[in-house]
């Protein structure tokens, strides 16, 4: 059984197995270990973005050039991507997303709730397959299914990583 600490490593292994060569991300606490792994790997180009929709366009360009890409973001970033998803939808570009959730379990910040609460339906309206991982031992299976949907069927898929996996954000130190 996976422990809470190693699930990002399992996501990283899934990216490696899928031969993902470009990883776009907006810095995120929940993805910090995965981002660190990508940055340390010479075969993966890590691309820090200023806003998440840049990553949708990055992935399209990567595919045009023969590489696979993935996009890491927090749930709030899904809202930023909606119009840019039309690029993947119209041209059927593979688009793989790993999304850390905010605004649900034990959220302290109410400003995270409006977007967090609509991530799942918004993604589905945008024709994405959505896979949810609530516990560490669900992460790898969800990632593998998403990889298959994205690169096997050339579609959009997202793995939603529940806030329970990441833990509470510490607000006072």
């Amino acid at each position: 059984m996976s422990t809470a600490i190693e699930w990002p490593d399992r996501l990283f292994a899934a990216l490696q197995r899928a031969d993902v060569r470009q990883v776009g991300y907006v810095p995120d606490a929940g993805h910090s270990r995965l981002i660190e792994r990508c940055r340390a790997d010479a075969d993966i180009r890590d691309v820090a973005l200023t806003t998440e929709e840049e990553g949708v366009a990055l992935a399209a360009g990567a595919w045009l050039g023969g590489q696979r890409a993935a996009l890491l973001m927090q749930s709030s970033g899904v809202g930023n991507c909606i119009n840019m998803f039309s690029l993947a939808r119209t041209c059927r570009f593979p688009l793989l997303m790993f999304i850390t959730m905010r605004g649900e379990w034990e959220e302290f910040n109410p400003w995270q709730v409006p977007m967090g609460s609509i991530v799942d339906p918004v993604l589905k309206l945008c024709e994405a397959e959505v896979y949810r991982a609530r516990k560490p031992d669900e992460v790898e299976g969800a990632a593998e299914r998403a990889v298959q949907t994205v690169f096997g069927d050339e579609r959009i898929a997202a793995v939603l990583l529940s806030q329970e996996l990441i833990g509470k954000k510490v607000w006072t130190k």
Binding site: V47, A57, L58, G61, G65, N83, R92
Partner: protein, 196 residues
């Protein structure tokens, strides 16, 4: 020629000059006028016309340039499209792709929507922004000589390049390329020898 257009290049002629003798250049135009300009210059499987995804042209170029380090990539987009994706200049600025040129056809207006003034007409300087994002070479193309020089550079450049081409705010007749996104994607990949 009206006073606004004076001293500015004609957009169709400018695009034609850039791709006339393109070699193996890959070209990504932005939605709207630059896509029509590229279509008017002659269709090519190595053109990835954007009919949407406003603000995304430069990032499509980045993903492509990183995936194909042995090929030169030119994004040719308008000032309005570039303004919507200004952050991508910062993103590209720290990646430093040696094979990517970002070329902005700047006419100071949103031509597709009725010639409303863009921020560049109000004084926003895209070349300075690009310089501030780390583009060491930022060119301003205002005449035929500079345009000819740019066309040559597109075959030889070896570090990322930002170019502002000052074009006249005119609206030539639309020339519409293929608009089936799947077909555009597949034929582009096939032209690179990739499985469609």
């Amino acid at each position: 020629m009206d006073p606004v257009s004076e001293g500015r290049l004609e957009r169709r002629a400018a695009m034609a000059a850039l791709v006339k003798d393109r070699g193996d250049l890959l070209v990504v135009p932005g939605l709207g006028s630059t896509t029509w300009d590229l279509a008017a210059a002659g269709d090519d499987d190595r053109n990835f016309y954007l009919w949407g995804a406003m603000g995304g042209a430069a990032m499509v170029g980045l993903g492509l340039a990183l995936a194909q380090p042995g090929r030169r990539v030119a994004v040719v987009t308008g000032d309005g499209e570039m303004l919507m994706g200004l952050g991508s200049l910062a993103t590209i600025g720290i990646q430093r792709p040696a094979n990517l040129a970002i070329i902005v056809f700047d006419n100071g207006v949103y031509g597709e929507t009725g010639m409303q003034p863009s921020h560049t007409q109000g004084g926003v300087d895209l070349a300075s922004i690009a310089a501030g994002c780390g583009f060491r070479t930022c060119l301003d193309v205002r005449d035929e000589t500079a345009l000819t020089d740019l066309a040559g550079r597109l075959k030889t450049f070896s570090e990322m390049l930002f170019v502002r081409v000052q074009i006249a705010p005119e609206e030539p007749p639309r020339v519409l390329p293929l608009r089936d996104g799947i077909e555009l994607k597949n034929r582009f990949r096939a032209a690179l020898g990739l499985k469609a």
